[in-house]
Amino acid sequence: MTEGRGKPVGLSGDLAVAYAVKQADVDVIAAYPITPQTIIVEKLAEYVNDGELNAAFVPVESEHSALSAVVGASLAGARVFTATASQGLALMYEILWIASGLRTTVVMALANRALSPNINIHCSHDDAYAARDAGWIQFFAENVQEAYDLTLLAFRVSEDKKVLFPSIINLDGFILSHSLERLLVLDDKEVKEFLPPKEPVNPIDPDNPKTYGPLDLYDYYIEHKRQQAEHFKASYPRILELMREFSEFAGREYKPIKTYGLEDAEVAIMILGSSAGTARYVARKLRAKGEKVGVISLTLYRPFPVNELLEAVKGLKALAVMDRSYSFGSPGAQLFMDVTAALINAKEKPLMFNVIYGLGGRDLMPDHIVQVFEMAKQVAKEGEVKEAQVWVGVRE
């Protein structure tokens, strides 16, 4: 990716997200601390108490109340933000659905962390996947620059009148949240141009009283859900448009899907989050030796970029879909299920298998990636998938 515009600074993922939220001139923040998101919340409290950010900081007593509060604040017409991880997201689960169904514009940073048991504060994508059915737009940041950029983009996307759905920015716990990286931050004035104040749709207004969150019996529920479904689908082209707008504005390209080496790759790995960088690093080395390998990663996970993926996998013989989570009793882990469903009816699609990695912060090393490419090459050579799901980096 080209460097684009902005002033170079060194920040951790959490600090970069907080900085973006400050520049976005958010109105209400309600969040409960949980490792590895705590720095976001602490920094925002500092900005508010130092008078650098004119926002209401609500130190709620749990994550469930955090999301409940920002749902209320969004309905009141405010630009809102919250952040959490792992158990906190699990506690918010009930309200995730409500936040989407009521068409709030909540922006949430998710510092991806494993779900208990056992209690583990390190990176897994469990929490990101847990939200995938609830109707939230989901971005995945690969590095701190993306965490910063995508936070700004998320406000613009969620509040857009053709979208009006809440969004999540995923950043790998500790790997991105706590690692200091160099990034370019945009100028405050420029950000204000890209992100003017929120123009709420149907806000709480005593002069125009509305009832939010009524009861549906069986004569209306499915119509309401259908509408939400169709609107969520219809938001996809608009999200792409806004990504293009942002790309122009920042001078850094953002697309729903990132491909490397797919012009001629025979096998590829599909992977989300910071590990995509590792995969690309290994792929580059292998390609230099003449191996036809590639990497696919997603910047936009929900709505799932089906057409872009169909296009990307043309010509591939085998695809290893890597999941940093697990779904018990399922035909594959979460991303694998998404990908196979997306490609099921394609006339041209690769053989696919699922690789489980990195749970609870277990590092994904270049050697593991080499191993996975080897497996993929084997599958391509044999023309069949003997093991649909394998684990890497686990002591047997």
């Binding site: 209400v28 109340s65 409940s68 709480i204 509305k210 009861l215």
Partner: protein, 313 residues
């Protein structure tokens, strides 16, 4: 339309305007609407209502109908206070940043959504000091889901999860003290309200609304369906609750307790119990021990309130 908060001396002074429309599906003789109508009449100006899941929420907003003529928000069961906190914070900051006028925020929660599943959110909201009026309409059980016991169900009452059985005759635990919980959080005003005392009720709403910061009102809600009582006797039952001292009418204002109806000669609690199917088993001689325990509890609680109010017995 009334522009100011005003204490009243007679029912005639209560504004005529209704911001709560009929056509809702609350039970015949339900005690909740009287509360809602009073609150919306007593508080002038722009208002927002936040409602926890429960009888009031479900029966008044069955899509596509709504009985509410003010903005009304329902999120989930246990988070009315948290949702209201977010709305309050939003309007505060939007007023500062964009001059948008702040409405009064009123939260309605049943005893379920307040005493039990909603207690955490209420505690958080009170501690943070949001400017809102939290009103618990207490019909003493989870009525909307079919009369299951809550921690507001009085001792001895029969509910579907504390039935008056052959071995255990009803709920054996005592009722939680909501006013005590509110006071422990440092609220400036908290009070109990009863529909049989409408002027006292109206004025308490006015007082709560005149205070900046969180206030808690605890409303006695007759429930003919759940209490197995004659709907036409709802107000009579409500009055007996006060006159038997089982449900005292009192308020806490700026550190001082005041008993609004100082019952000198209490009516026997049996008079209150015999009007309600949920208590009738207590009049059975084999349950006399429980009835005696309840009477001792009532006396103890009354003496406690007298002490708090600084009244010699």
């Amino acid at each position: 339309m009334e522009k100011e908060l005003k204490l009243i001396k007679s029912i005639k002074e209560i504004p005529i305007r209704e911001d709560f429309a009929p056509g809702h599906r609350l039970c015949t003789g339900c005690g909740i609407p009287q509360l809602v109508r009073m609150v919306l009449k007593a508080i002038p100006g722009p208002k927002v209502v936040v409602n926890a899941t429960g009888c009031l929420e479900v029966a008044t907003t069955i899509f596509p109908y709504t009985s509410w003529k003010v903005p009304w928000v329902h999120n989930a069961f246990e988070n009315a206070a948290a949702t209201a906190s977010g709305i309050e914070a939003a309007f505060r900051i939007l007023e500062k940043k964009r001059g948008i006028k702040r409405p009064k925020i009123i939260v309605f929660g049943g005893d379920g959504g307040t005493f039990d599943i909603g207690l955490q959110a209420l505690s958080g909201a009170l501690e943070r000091g949001h400017d809102l009026i939290y009103i618990c309409y207490d019909n003493e059980a989870y009525m909307n889901t079919g009369i299951q016991r809550s921690s507001a169900t009085p001792k001895g009452a029969a509910t579907t999860t504390s039935p008056a059985g052959r071995v255990i005759p009803g709920k054996l635990e005592r009722k939680k003290d909501l006013i005590g919980i509110a006071v422990a959080h440092g609220v400036k005003y908290a009070a109990t309200m009863n529909p049989a005392y409408p002027i006292d009720m109206y004025n308490k709403i006015v007082k709560a609304a005149s205070i900046e910061g969180p206030t808690v009102l605890h409303y006695f809600t007759p429930c003919p369906t759940g209490w197995r009582a004659d709907p036409s006797k709802s107000i009579e039952i409500a009055r007996l609750a006060v006159l038997t001292r089982i449900w005292p009418l009192y308020e806490y204002e700026d550190g001082k307790y005041k008993i609004n109806v100082l019952v000198k000669k209490p009516r026997p609690v049996e008079e209150y119990f015999k009007l309600q199917g949920r208590f009738r088993h207590l009049l059975d001689p084999k349950n006399k021990w429980l009835l005696e325990e309840i009477k001792r509890d009532i006396e103890e609680n009354w003496r406690r309130l007298l002490r708090l109010a600084g009244i010699e017995e």
